[in-house]
Symmetry: D3
Subunit: 301 residues, 6 copies
């Protein structure tokens, strides 16, 4: 069960109103790398996890991320508080409010007009949050790697927001939030490697003949070798023929049909056959004035 | 530039028609962990990457994933080929076709009726593919970790599909595709660690006072210690008070308003104030027959 | 800040494994009327709310809804626990697992194959949760009504789930969750009516000449009168002419253009004009074999 | 059946071209609180409604909302008409057109470049309209409340648009549209309360022991009492222990497995167990240069 | 302005309850090729259209499609009417209702549990309708072609539904709706070709050197020639070298940076450089037990 | 199988950094009419196509569109390269970077902060790419028309981008890409008409009595006649009565219920009946201060 304490995990201090900055902050509220995604990612994993250590850790971090969601949402609300009042009360002329709504050069018009200045579950461009952002699949060797990556991404987006933020209090809080992503990544790393083996992920072994092959699919000036495709690590295949039909077959699909289906499929093929020998008049010609009015229509070869 | 060879990278051999199995295969065609997501993930990263080694590797693997998309899509098309013909040509009674459409017990009715038996850019439940599945953010210390995680997830979903597949040819092709995810993960791992340092991700250092702290946010029976929150690695904080306002402040938000904004905000507050002393009649009472017809409406304290 | 206690708000007791029932339960986990939507609806409102009573109430209820999300998610995990293990470990033949995946007659195949049996942020049809479900707009006279309606909807969906659930423990927990929606609705009703006036919503008065008019737009057998369109309450307008251009104008749009724009608009109109006097040959004729090969193409009137 | 009259329900008069204002207007065309959502909400309810009075009312109002969709869409088209011509005909230099496209400070670039200046089914930020905005569930005690709330929200968004609009004709039309939302809300209120009882919604009674309880889940400075949680109305529970496992149970989930499932689950648990006694080397250490080259890798406790 | 007549454009006669069939019908209600998409496609085009003939035609057909939406939605409601009552009133045991909900083998469980048996704005798989289905862009030479294609698609989906429908009354109504798509396509064809020229679409001429070239990008067994790539119509280029950098340049991108940007870009490149000479230990090795405990970590070449 | 050559199909030359222009270019990268949609549209059709000519053509063009996606994505990356470096390295003051992020007046802030300057799979407003953009349904008489329309739309969007682009190298590449859409349209037209007949689409014949009827549904000043509704082509029906129930029936829906269902439906009707004779007090009155405190609540007629 969750309980809530009215004090924030980190005190939010906003120096001055700034709806444009508020809008950018939405990246970490309702954006793909934001705190909602983080909290729900770990919370849903925790619910289905049976390993006691991982379950506990996931719920610990999920709960903290919810608390971070509260911090970033509070920043948004504070930066917007004045503008919200002015729009709701119409204390200025329409022309002035219009300029205020559109002047930030970003999507704060959506935040103001549609969401009334509150923290919306969108990114800074107004894109609605979607559960498509959550990539949990219920296997720890995959989910822990996903969590490590998610923390890395969140760290970077915080870094960018810090780089564009001038407000000292906001910057300080963002620094705290960014740092916690690093700490969480450390925990997820430890959890991953305390499960041995964790590579390859899952249970089924790979087919050995294809597990250490590197196909050089993109060729030309710029081809590079490195540890990711070195001869020490991989069989490196550049020959285009050897990249094809690596099972040794024809490379062409084969299937079976019931007799009834064969009839149906052939009937459909005949009905929809294109005639490669024809040269039909088309809509493009009708539409481009290329037709000579004396030329018979519907000509075929 | 891309070029296409009509032979597949792996020969597809389908033993018998099976629209239900075809529908499940869509997970790796238009699902979140599928080949389209993989190909586009690496392709878009490659376009913006300047490091020559990573750029080459990303385009190599993107191109291979496109070729895998072709393999899995071909499997779907082969498994559906007969059913497609039967529905298009209506070679059976309506009642029989109705049973065929609905009999698989999964969403193959969508595949048949809406998509005509072709490989659709959806998962097995008919959910449209969305770019929200792609989490690239343009930083290699994050994106490579995202790629490692994505390969791990794809490996697991292939494993599950293999576990439920009875068709030997399909199973064999799925085994190839699963194995390649392992190989790609190996390459991404090498690429990540050939960039040093890669942790913490990005450039800005974390705030040291918060980087090695573990907040025990979820408490009760089931609390566990392990390397992810051990005293060796972390300062472990269970005291609820010490988890709050870790900056040492009040934990309550502070902001500034312009004088005009203050007036507007106060005006709005007064206009929309709730009266905690009242006990208003509400719609619930009007709707629940709890009212005594003689009781005056609109009573307040 | 949020804190988590490992005990649930309501004990989950599941009598036997049932992946099909688990899948239905997702409606109240990641569905539009589910607990995630509820929790986020109130939480985001709380962050932007300045009225102290409403802010406190919103956070109280948001926190409880998070705890309900945990209860319903735990039900999903428990109902799926066995099937998850069987698929991950492949302890049965592929054909048997295939039947298990598809046998429920609903979308549990998505839950199993894609999400590994964990509670996914989707509804029972696999539709990804989207913030489009959240309709908060930052005005209490609207948001409280939205909350009242949301609780009513959630109560009904729980009622339906209870009606189809045979498992006594699950049914009991659903009864608790359903009841809490009723209690929350009561609180929101009190909060709405303790703000006076709250109708019409917002600040701007309606235009009196249109505020008590009812337009009888749908006519024919079935036209009904009732308090929603009674003469006592409304001016009832059935005359089609009186429904049109109720401002007394022409009903036709008027606009202004700059001189440069007028030139551009006219140029575009001329370039793209359709000729009502023509009878052009079209693609339909080319495609339908209606053409006499001797008939000249491109004929116009 | 629908019929259309070419005159609008309200005459649209636009004083001057303004693509930026046009873009804001999209909130009430293709935005979540806009006229399309309103029309479809009532129309779909009407189709499934059997109560003759409600069915008639819902279709009346749905039809009017479609007519409002036409009014707001016409406003968008008129405000954009000049800019549309200029872009289509390229009557200005590229640099000038570029400035025009981006100069509004909002998302009118999407409206111009992608939608050619026409009214698009998006909100003002370009977010595509989604049926996730429609919350009808087919029960009148819920749907009528949803409709009341929807009208309240739409009223507020119109109010905000009026507050930022300088064009007298547009402002007047917006005033009409806003007023009609108030009138519709009145009708829906009458319809709701003419169905008695309508609270609690639906048919199943709540569990009495939980129906009048208020859990004080968010605690600290700012805790408030009011009619929404007063002792007169509710049993108010602040004690954290009493908030937990309110059924009197353990608060811990219980489930059953078949013997075969137990084996599979235990096998999975063993295979994926994390070792809490270990201190594994992790990717973070490999990536952060913290390794002493002489220290053996893979150390465990 | 729209007006509504309570009689349908086509009488709906449903022989017997069939929630499974109802669910399939949703394809033409809230599916991508359904009547809502059609109505909104033409309606939004009509609002922005200035050509008087096209504007009138678009509004005529939009209005008819709305009336078809009503017909198909009524079919859904009628097929579901009984099941809706049974679920709402719980007139059967839970186990029986559970079977009814899941027995159709398609997604009627979503229609019943979430939408209460009403016509939902989803396709038959529960995918929410999205404005991404609407491809209008505000140019008649494109939009009319889009409309022609949309009518063709809708015709086919109706054909498939007819093929699987056993209910005579439903089949007859579907036949009417299918036929009207053909009639609309005829009108759109006439409208397209009455605008001359309409090819190439728009105003800007193509670059002649590339307008009649066909690149044979996919090569191998199966290469075909036909009128779509014949020498009569096209310059056919199979040589891979001639397909590359067809402008005669290097095929490699070139850009310019400001001096400050050059510094930043180089700094980023150095910071994130991968070392192709290294052979770093990676997480895969840590996770796969391939490490010899005596081997020093962090080795590079 | 796909192979990749590192040279582009068209050399990208960018004159100077321009993040705002980069953002607009996303329309043809991740927008609905962009190259990703084109490539996937043809690729998925090719996989399911059995006609050898069409299959080859679809794969040829799909492969070329992938190569165009690479060109447009490279343009985005080049235009953003400098800004990406400056944000990542924070080589400027926060206030300056904030101005740079927001100064373009469009959504380049999303491109920079969220996507790190890389080409994102969104349109220029940040809307995530969705497979809802792809309208393939697996029937060549429909899909080829969809392809023709898609090429027309893409041509127009390129035309608009060219009109607003000042950079000579970008403009030239856009001209190439635009031209190729024209060439592809030509091929699809030939392919469509080489399949005879292709109209009406599909196999089922229309019902002749409705195939050549035009319903004049939108009436009033502006009614027009043209070839799309001429007497020569169509039976033109303006009489509103003749537009209704064109099957000759009542226009009212009819259905059947089982006896058990009839009971349930009647029970539900009774339970939820609205009372047209009542005049209930409502929430609107409670909220608007219209109540006389002495007036009894809950009054009904």
């Amino acid at each position: 069960m969750f309980a809530h304490n009215k004090r924030l995990q980190y005190t939010v201090r906003v120096a001055e109103p700034n709806p444009g900055l508020a809008n950018l902050m939405l990246e970490q509220f309702g954006g793909p790398q934001g705190e909602l995604a983080a909290a729900l990612r770990y919370f849903t994993q925790a619910l289905a996890e049976d390993d006691p250590g991982r379950k506990d850790m996931l719920m610990d971090i999920a709960t903290e991320e919810l608390s971070h969601l509260e911090v970033i949402g509070t920043i948004v609300a504070m930066l917007n508080k004045g503008a919200k009042g002015e729009l709701a009360e119409a204390t200025q002329e329409a022309a002035e409010l219009y300029r205020a709504i559109n002047g930030a050069g970003n999507d704060s018009h959506v935040t103001q007009v549609l969401y009334g200045g509150g923290p919306a579950l969108t990114n800074s461009g107004g894109q609605l949050w979607t559960a498509g952002y959550i990539d949990s699949i219920g296997d720890p060797s995959a989910d822990l790697r996903s969590n490590i990556a998610a923390e890395a991404r969140a760290k970077i987006v915080y870094e960018r927001l810090i780089n564009v933020t001038d407000d000292a209090g906001v910057k300080e809080a963002l620094g705290f939030l960014m740092t916690r992503e690093v700490a969480h990544q450390l925990s997820f790393e430890k959890a991953l490697y305390s499960m041995q083996p964790n590579f390859p992920p899952g249970k089924l072994p790979p087919r050995q003949e294809f597990a250490r092959v590197y196909f050089n699919m993109s060729q030309g000036e710029g081809d590079m070798r490195g540890p990711w495709n070195s001869d020490e690590q991989f069989q490196y295949i550049s020959d285009r023929e050897q990249q094809l039909a690596v099972d040794g077959g024809s490379g062409l699909p084969e299937t079976a049909l019931t007799p009834e289906q064969s009839v149906a499929v052939e009937q459909m093929a005949a009905r929809t056959a294109s005639d490669p020998q024809s040269n039909p008049m088309t809509g493009a010609e009708l539409g481009s004035g290329q037709l000579d009015a004396d030329e018979p229509a519907g000509r075929t070869s």
